[in-house]
């Protein structure tokens, strides 16, 4: 691989966008706004929204998945045999696990530790950056929900000169919390209930659907063949399979079939490892997969005093962009979906410590159970 080239100057793009950057609203627009703002009443307080809590998994199997091209050289064959064996065993377990009703448990809770490895090579020299970041997600239908990530840990190894290419990358891995950031990924509009439940059929359906943008959030893009070129596509599909497996509400047969896909042929036909532009290789994800969650009966319904929490879409629509900066912590003690018990903090602790522990004590400043 060649040394990383300096980024291309963007002068042409800045020149292109300069007229837009200088665009000003005409005076009539300002006058219209002032007259409307003078006439509009103050903000209507949002109604309280009911929150249902997520129940947690009691059967958790930690599966180390090295599905995606990472720093290591390509491995011939279908993949590391131990991982494949674990996945096949997990598939058998998953097929027997019940799935609760959406009304009983609208969110699927997962705790992950993302591990990303970036690599640059040049004339025999190698530099690697490894980032690890713990995260929690509460994912509902259509990738709604909340996610929270802790501080990521980074380490570099290899050639120091080449490692300068990673400058700034680790800044993207600081603590954060917000709505699930699935964005416009290839499965954005997928309804998992429409997926087949056999290994080959689910793999073919997902790969073809991703290839043709079937589940794109943009109607005009659906049916158009896009996506990463060549060898990146297989790993991209596998990455999406893992996301689906970890976060989506699949039926037990679907979950078993998807685990079987990952065990046998995660990247599908085509080259498994393709260097990305500038010599970087794709991420390697180590996922802690909670299999076949056994949910408890519906927990006591609680309402958040400040209202717009629970369903982030409600929050987005209501706040049109979320809480303004600087206002966090005033009206929203916690923006996460409730997990159990009347206290968000307590519930969070409960999930971290033991998903099956009894509900923690009330926190009258945050929630009013049963209202």
């Amino acid at each position: 691989m060649t040394r990383l080239a300096p980024p291309a100057p963007d002068d042409d793009l800045r020149e292109l966008f300069a007229p837009l950057a200088a665009d000003e609203p005409p005076p009539s627009e300002l006058a219209r706004l002032r007259s409307r703002s003078a006439a509009r009443p103050g903000r209507r307080r949002l109604p309280r929204r009911t929150l249902a809590a997520v129940a947690a998994a009691t059967a958790a199997v930690a599966v180390g998945l090295a599905l995606l091209p990472g720093a290591s050289p390509p491995v011939p064959g279908p993949g590391p045999e131990p991982a494949a064996g674990v996945l096949r065993a997990a598939a058998a377990v998953a097929a027997d696990q019940p799935v609760p009703r959406v009304a009983d448990a609208p969110y699927r809770y997962t705790r992950t530790r993302d591990r990303l490895t970036y690599e640059v090579r040049d004339s025999g020299a190698v530099a690697r950056l490894t980032l690890e970041q713990p995260g929690e997600r509460w994912v509902g239908v259509k990738w709604s929900g909340r996610e929270a990530y802790g501080q990521g840990q980074s380490s570099t190894s290899g050639d120091r000169g080449l490692a300068r290419a990673f400058a700034g990358l680790e800044q993207s891995f600081g603590p954060r919390e917000g709505p699930v950031a699935y964005g416009d990924g290839p499965l954005a509009e997928l309804d998992p209930t429409t997926l087949p439940a056999t290994r080959d059929a689910i793999a073919a359906t997902l790969r073809e659907g991703m290839r043709t943008n079937r589940w794109s959030p943009y109607p005009e893009s659906r049916g158009q063949v896009t996506g990463p070129p060549g060898g990146e596509y297989g790993s991209y599909a596998a990455y999406s399979f893992v996301n689906l497996l970890v976060h989506a509400r699949l039926s037990p047969p679907q979950r078993a079939a998807l685990l079987d896909v990952l065990a046998s042929d995660p990247c599908g036909p085509g080259p498994r490892h393709g260097p990305r532009r500038r010599g970087a290789r794709g991420p390697r994800r180590r996922a802690r997969v909670h299999l076949g969650p056994v949910h408890r009966p519906a927990p006591p319904v609680a309402r958040l005093r400040s209202g717009h929490v629970g369903d982030p879409r409600v929050e987005d629509d209501a706040a049109a962009g979320g809480q303004p900066p600087g206002a966090e912590g005033r009206e929203r003690p916690s923006a996460r979906p409730r997990t159990d018990g009347p206290s968000a903090d307590g519930a969070r602790r409960g999930l971290r410590d033991d998903a099956r522990r009894a509900p923690v004590g009330p926190d009258a400043g945050t929630f009013r159970p049963g209202r």
């Binding site: 042409d12 966008f17 007229p19 837009l20 665009d23 627009e29 950031a181 943009y218 979320g322 600087g326």
Partner: protein
């Protein structure tokens, strides 16, 4: 560090900063400017962008009391505006109708910004949003990611694909 093509308008920058004021008129005007540029880049249509900018500015005025840090006004407006514009972009039929009306309007009164919008035309809305936030508002990846509710790596991908598409169109125009 690159220098932006135009002065970056921030509440604490060197440009006069109406954002630092809690006066509704100043806030509204500033929000209208920021939101209009963002919405125009995402939607490519003046009428729709004006509507979105109006709604965004009104929300800012109504919720100004919750803004504790005036310096964060622009970031707040970016987030609201880009999400409102993306929601508008998702309303396909209405947008197409408006695009037709906007095209007719542009036939009558072309402006310098029309070339920019023509190059952006047809790009996915999130790519347009990422490009606009970078090259119009000069936001870093992390801020764009917050506005688009995605990861910074996704922003880099959106920008890369957007740059490639825009440059391909510029090359075509140059031939």
């Amino acid at each position: 560090l690159r220098s932006p093509a135009v002065p970056v308008l921030t509440a604490t920058g060197t440009v006069p900063a109406p954002a630092a004021s809690r006066d509704p008129g100043d806030l509204a005007g500033r929000a209208l400017v920021v939101a209009r540029r963002t919405a125009l880049g995402v939607l490519g249509d003046r009428e729709l962008a004006a509507d979105v900018a109006q709604e965004v500015a009104l929300q800012v005025v109504r919720r100004r009391a919750s803004l504790r840090d005036p310096a964060a006004l622009d970031a707040w407006v970016h987030r609201i505006a880009v999400r409102a514009a993306l929601r508008e972009a998702a309303r396909g039929r209405r947008r197409r109708e408006a695009e037709q009306a906007g095209a007719a309007a542009r036939d009558v009164a072309p402006e310098p910004v029309d070339r920019t919008l023509a190059v952006l035309d047809g790009l996915p809305p999130r790519q347009r949003a990422a490009l606009t936030l970078r090259y119009v508002h000069d936001l870093p990846d992390a801020e764009i990611a917050r506005a688009l509710r995605c990861r910074p790596a996704t922003v880099r991908s959106l920008l890369s694909r957007g740059r490639d598409a825009v440059r391909a169109r510029l090359d075509e125009d140059a031939r």
